[in-house]
């Protein structure tokens, strides 16, 4: 009799170990299986993955320094003969790295710079690794040079870093704000919902390009800059992520709200209330996970929009600040360099290709994800 509870506990402990072996197929895994069958989406995913890796480890590749100005080869056309040259200046024959040269040519702060952070250290490590692997070899100007004789290929890679991060961070910011706001509004319903959505309508009616221009002008003020600097925010681009993210959440909020309105009628929401879930729990643990499909799909459509917006702002000269570079800045410089006298096509075509192919890939991926995640298309 006294043994009974012990054996029961043991029995379940044993079963628990067995239960860990049984893994259910979650809807996410199911969707992944379907996505894998979609060739276009998988190619897009692979491409984005490659671009992401390429951008993340940019200092590792044998590219020229993006800020190395050489007036003797301004507007030089793409050249492949020879494909690689042993011309790196910031590294000596023993493989040691000149910190000051790196700082000037790459914009990576030296270790003794007080503003130097973990990202600079990461970049420096990659550069050292590159020196160890490739020595002084670097690629010739495969994509040509810009008006200051800087290598376009290198600038494309360094620009990818900023463009991708802008898209990702701003996309995520808009996701967090939009989903929380929309789900809360939709779930609470009634007057609260009306008020929250009218607020969104008001924000919608503001021509936000002016808001961004205003904000960026304010942020450019030396006093404001000094203030931000004391908070540890050095770069205008950091602010930019949040500004753009904080603007692009509006549509996401509407989309999510609409879905929540229909989803909250589902019985499992009522069941959750019956077992005593509070509102926050219902919204974030029951409703939002069921919206993941549209959220992810919408995110893959927001990221390209944000990247384009960044390019557009850079076109206006309001985006990324000078020695830094993004695809939008490059495309802008390219169009400015087109004159009646000579057409330096590479300055427009390559940045355009980089931006366009990434946006294409994101759209293909979003399309594939929508098909994979929509259970109504399942087994069709």
């Amino acid at each position: 009799m006294t043994d009974a509870p012990v054996t029961a506990a043991e029995k379940y402990a044993r079963l628990l170990a067995e239960a860990q072996q049984v893994r259910g197929t979650s809807l996410g895994r199911d969707a992944w299986r379907r996505l894998k069958r979609n060739r276009a989406a998988m190619i897009a995913l692979g491409y984005l993955f490659l671009i992401g890796i390429g951008a993340l480890f940019t200092p590792l590749w044998p590219l020229q320094a993006p800020r190395m100005v050489r007036s003797d080869r301004a507007f030089a056309a793409p050249q492949f003969q020879p494909a690689f040259t042993q011309t790196t200046t910031w590294i000596d024959d023993s493989g040691a790295i000149d910190d000051d040269a790196v700082s000037a040519a790459f914009g990576i702060r030296a270790a003794d710079d007080p503003k130097s952070g973990w990202f600079d250290a990461f970049n420096r490590q990659l550069l050292r690794l590159r020196g160890a692997i490739f020595g002084r070899w670097e690629a010739a100007s495969w994509c040509g040079c810009d008006m200051l004789g800087r290598d376009l290929l290198a600038r494309l890679f360094w620009g990818a870093r900023i463009s991708l991060v802008v898209g990702l961070v701003a996309g995520l910011v808009s996701l967090v704000i939009g989903v929380s706001y929309g789900a809360t509004s939709g779930y609470l319903g009634g007057t609260v919902d009306s008020l929250m959505m009218r607020f969104v309508d008001v924000l919608y009616s503001i021509p936000f390009i002016f808001v961004v221009i205003l904000l960026i002008t304010v942020l450019d003020d030396p006093e404001v800059k000094a203030g931000l600097s004391s908070w540890g925010i050095e770069n205008r681009i950091t602010i930019f992520f949040f500004v753009v993210g904080a603007i692009y959440w509006l549509t996401m909020a509407r989309v999510v709200r609409g879905q929540v309105l229909s989803l909250k009628q589902e019985q499992f929401v009522e069941a959750a209330r019956t077992i005593g879930c509070n509102r926050r729990r219902i919204i974030f643990l029951h409703l939002v996970p069921n919206l993941l499909s549209i959220i992810i799909v919408y995110l893959t459509l927001t990221i390209p929009r944000v990247m384009l917006f960044e390019a557009f702002l850079s076109f206006l000269g309001l985006g990324v600040e000078a020695p830094d570079v993004s695809w939008g800045v490059l495309a802008n410089e390219g169009t400015q360099s087109i004159t009646a006298v000579h057409i330096d096509w590479w300055l427009v075509v390559y940045p355009g290709l980089a931006l366009g192919s990434t946006l294409f890939a994101l759209n293909f991926l979003g399309d594939g994800l929508r098909d994979a995640l929509d259970p109504r298309l399942k087994n069709r």
């Binding site: 239960a19 009522e270 069941a271 019956t274 077992i275 005593g276």
Partner: protein
């Protein structure tokens, strides 16, 4: 029958749920109320089962939801173990949810498709027993799954990997997790195959004896309700028109609506079935958005008389039954 205490576990008095609506054009709106539940009273002791029957839209499910405070009741009193709970806020209602749970009609819609079975059944434990660690919860969930006849190894599976009957068992395990005394079963078997229905009903009965549960059992199926219930209430247009011990009600129905309902139950013997007299009601269920001066059933009643249209009949005890059999008809004694 052994009674735990004389005080009823659940007492519902004159419960009303009215939904306001607006119709007509934007400029000439008409305001009104849908009287989904219009004065329902019943009480239930520990370990008892009350069956609620009635046609679609008569307010059975709304009654259950209003008692559980999933829909705010418009009027009336609900006492759970002597404490008034009608219209409590979610926070104030929380401790009472441990006493009162619900099993839902549609086993495909009532489980969150993004959660594993372990999380679904473990969620009430997370809320009501916050001190419990992960492993303890997993073991408890497995015990519950075992109790409802599911393989405890399926802890990490998702609802879509189960059949309808199994899903309903998951729903039952979730309701049992908090250790309730009363479970509202909102047509728990009507979405299932007939063969599975019997299994689920047997499971519910076993659990009742094992855990001394009280049920409010909502169903369409009259023979099923007779089988499982101690008391049966017949609802029509948001009201209970007749309530009686199950056998008494089926043997001796007093309200004409109950009579009509029972006459519609098919008999398994084809000989009797052929000769069976059926009362076929004419007309439709009247709209619940109007107020009727008389008996709401008057328009369809085969025994209607003049006084039926003047004032509404009250639910009154039938003489000689010590008031356990009550009917809301002026001529229930005839």
């Amino acid at each position: 029958m052994i009674k735990a205490s004389d005080a009823p576990l659940l007492e519902v008095r004159d419960l009303k749920v009215h939904f306001p609506f607006r119709r007509g054009s934007l400029f000439r709106p008409e305001h009104g109320f849908i009287r989904a539940v219009d004065g329902v009273s019943f009480s239930l002791r520990e370990g008892e089962t009350l069956g609620l029957v009635g046609e679609s839209g008569c307010g059975k499910s709304t009654t259950a939801r209003a008692v559980l405070n999933l829909i705010p009741p418009t009027f009336g009193e609900v006492c759970l173990e002597g404490e008034p709970i009608a219209g409590l806020s979610d926070t104030a209602m929380l401790p009472h949810r441990q006493t009162m749970q619900m099993i839902f009609q549609d086993p495909f819609a009532s489980l969150n498709p993004r959660m594993t079975v372990g999380r679904i059944v473990g969620e009430p434990l997370k809320i009501f027993r916050p001190g419990m660690d992960r492993e303890g919860r997993a073991v408890e969930v497995m015990r519950l799954l075992d109790m409802v006849g599911l393989n405890p190894r399926f802890l990490n599976r998702y609802p879509h990997e189960f059949s309808g009957g199994q899903r309903q068992r998951i729903g039952i395990a979730r309701a049992l997790a908090v250790g309730p005394k009363l479970i509202f079963c909102d047509e728990p078997v009507s979405a299932l195959d007939v063969s599975i229905q019997a299994q689920i009903v047997n499971l519910l009965e076993d659990l009742q004896t094992q855990l001394k549960l009280a049920y409010v059992f909502i169903a369409h199926d009259l023979s099923l309700v007779r089988h499982i219930s101690d008391m049966v209430g017949v609802m029509y247009l948001g009201r209970i028109v007749e309530i009686a011990p199950a056998d008494e009600l089926y043997r001796n129905p007093r309200h004409p609506y109950t009579k009509a309902l029972l006459s519609a139950v098919p008999v398994a013997d084809p000989q009797i079935e052929r000769t069976r007299q059926r009362i076929v009601l004419t007309g439709d269920v009247p709209s619940p958005d109007r107020v009727y001066p008389g008996c709401p059933f008057a328009d369809r009643c085969p025994q209607v008389r003049d006084e039926c249209r003047k004032s509404p009949p009250k639910l009154e005890g039938i003489a000689g039954t010590a008031d356990v059999h009550q009917a809301a008809c002026f001529f229930a004694r005839d």
